[in-house]
Structures are given as C-alpha cells and as structure tokens.
Symmetry: C2
Subunit: 214 residues, 2 copies
C-alpha cells in the first residue's frame, strides 16, 4: 500500500488527515505510535518530522508532515477521486484559502486548548484546568460570531460546497461537541447547522468510529 499515516487515532492532527483520505476514498496503512511512551519525540519518527508531532505521512517516496499540508497535497494530487475539496478556479480557491487561514489563525488556537482540556486530558485521566476553559471559551465565541455571519451567507465556509476549509475543523469540533463547550456552537443557529452537517459526513464518522474502538 502506497500511503502510510504515522500517528494516533486520538490526536486531532492525524484525524484531519484520515478524514481527508476517507473523503477521497483512498486506502492507507495506519502506523500507530505510542505517544504516551513518547515515540513521537524519538528516532525513527524524528526523521519523518523534525518537530516531533504526529502525523507523518508517506506516499511512496514522498514524505510529509503538518496535517494541513498533507490534506492540501491529497486534495491536489488526487483531485480526480472522491469529494472535491479544493477549487481549480483561483478566485474560488482564494476564498477557500481565506477560511483555511481563519481556521488556523483564529479558530484553532482556542479550539485546540479547549480540546486538550475537555477532550484529551479526560482520556488520559488528567484533570481539566477550569481557568484555561474560562479564558478560551469567550475567545472561541468571538471567532464563532464571525462564522455565524459567514455561514448565513454561504452553506460552507469556502462557498456552496464542502472544502478543506470546513474539513480542517472536524477533529477539534468532534471533541468540543461532546463537551460542555457545545453550547457555544449550539447558540449560533448557522454554526450549529454547519457543525451537524459536516460532523455527519460518512468519511468523518469512520474516523470517530476508529477512535472510539481503540
């Protein structure tokens, strides 16, 4: 099998890559890393990603890291397979790129901190730091105010159809919708409908099922 993903089913960044591969209907080999034992911080993994974070990705001779670079590669290199996740039109793609950057720069910082506190720490048997939650929840709410305006104009962030701009949110979204922060999404009707829509995609439900079966 040509495509390999090194990582874990629990970490959000590998989940981003799995959901993209599933949307494209591509087969891949999962190479598990024991992150509790710190395998991602040691060789041979550091040769795949010098920053010691999952996932790392192989497609034949090509070796990549950084989940959002990997999804862009998959969307481009396998553009003729499965769900189109990027646009060939530079102006349409520009809007997708804007909202991909918004996810990275605005949504992800509070969403990742909240996911760690409310989603990952409980799995690891560690306690949530409520001060972090209280600080980050209003930050996330501010970002979602802008999403509510955007999603009132457009079914998906990047336009009329799903794109990487939506897909990149899924891993943190799935953890947060199972936490007490869910109310921040539910209180914004267009955000809430968008969450329900993208979380229900079979390609992502397969990722959650794999995570839940571990």
């Amino acid at each position: 099998m040509a495509i390999k993903v090194h990582g874990s089913w629990f970490a959000t960044a590998p989940m981003r890559v799995f959901s993209c591969l599933n949307e494209k209907g591509l087969d891949y080999e999962f190479v598990p890393l024991d992150m509790r034992a710190g395998e991602h911080q040691k060789e041979p993994f550091l040769s795949l990603n010098p920053f010691g974070q999952v996932p790392a990705f192989e497609d034949g001779e090509l070796k990549l890291f950084e989940s959002r670079a990997i999804t862009q590669y998959i969307a481009q290199a396998y553009s003729d397979k499965g769900t189109p996740l990027i646009s060939k039109d530079p102006k349409e793609m520009a809007i997708v790129l804007v909202w991909m950057e918004v996810e990275t720069q605005r949504y992800d910082p509070p969403a990742s901190k909240l996911t760690w506190e409310l989603g990952i720490k409980p799995i690891l048997g560690r306690s949530t730091d409520d001060a972090v939650v209280e600080e980050q929840e209003p930050e996330l709410a501010k970002v979602l105010d802008a999403y509510e305006v955007r999603l009132a104009q457009s079914k998906y962030l990047g336009g009329d159809s799903i794109s990487l701009a939506d897909l990149h949110h899924l891993p943190t979204l799935s953890y947060l919708m199972g936490s007490r922060v869910k109310a921040v999404f539910d209180s914004r009707p267009h955000v809430s409908a968008w969450c329900a829509d993208i979380l229900a995609r079979p390609a992502f439900k397969k990722v959650v099922a794999m995570r839940n079966n571990q």
Copy 2:
C-alpha cells in the same frame, strides 16, 4: 488600478503581501489605515475583514483577508508573471506547503511575539517586556535548529528555488535581524546565509524602503 492593499507599512502581515506583489511585478494601490486610531477595528474596514486585522486585499470584485491566503492567491492567479513562488507539480508543491505550515505553526508564534517586543513596541515608544523575550528566544532557537538541518540539504525551505515558504518569513525576519535576537540567526550558518539571501531580494528591499520612509 485593480489591486488594492489596505493596511500599514509597519505591520508584518501587509509587508508579506507587498513583498509578494513586488516579486510578481504587479502594480497596486496602497490604502493606509490609521491603526493607532483603531481604524482596523471599525467600519468600513470590518466589512473587508471581520476579524479587524490588516491587511485587506481587493483584486477587482474579489475581496480577501489573511496575508498568507492573499499571497497564495497572487502566486496562483499571476503564476505567469515575475518570480514563480509555487510549483505546479503536486509533489514539489507538497514540500513547499509543509514549510509554509512550519512557518505558520512553529516559527511565527515566537517570531511574532519577539517582533512585537523588539521591533514594533520601540516604534510606538513603548518598552520591551524582557520576560517575554527571554521566554520566546529559546523557542525560536529550537525552531531554527530544524531550519539549520533543512537548509543544509536545500538552498531554500521548499526546494532549490525561492517560494512562498521563504517569503512568508521576511517581515518578522527583517525586524528580528535589526534586534538583539539577530545572534540566534547568525549562530546557525545555513540559516544565516538563507536570511542574507532572502532579505537582499530587491522585491523585499522596496518594502523595507517604503517602511523606513514613513
């Protein structure tokens, strides 16, 4: 003139867009915002960027924000003009995308905090918080250790020729090379040579000259 950039010559994100436009040899209109008066946090600017940060960008009817989305649009839409900054080959482009993500996810967080403390605050007549500098400098050094390994294998981050992966570093790099943090770059020979090379590009020197003439 079709292309407009709303922003300031001092802020790093508009500088990223100006350097890209100059590499492409494109004409543009600069629309200054009085950021000290908070114009970027008010209408009409918020209609261009709901997150209230510079730059905003217009190319005819198309309106964009987020500097790294704007540079990708420019590189794609004007691929036949000036310096090529992206690759049409998905595998080559994947490596460029990896290092674009590294800039965003690893380099920029410490580099931006250090730029604010050591580059922007002095311009605004405010004093540097040395505790922030002491905390962020080792973070930047760790990232540059990985850059040193990469730049020993490859002249530029994304491959043999300059790309957006290099260009996105220029604004913070130019502030930091004029600060006491310069030593962190200079002590790594491949990083130091790369900095000298990309900072010397005429397209970027024009941006610095515009900033210094304000």
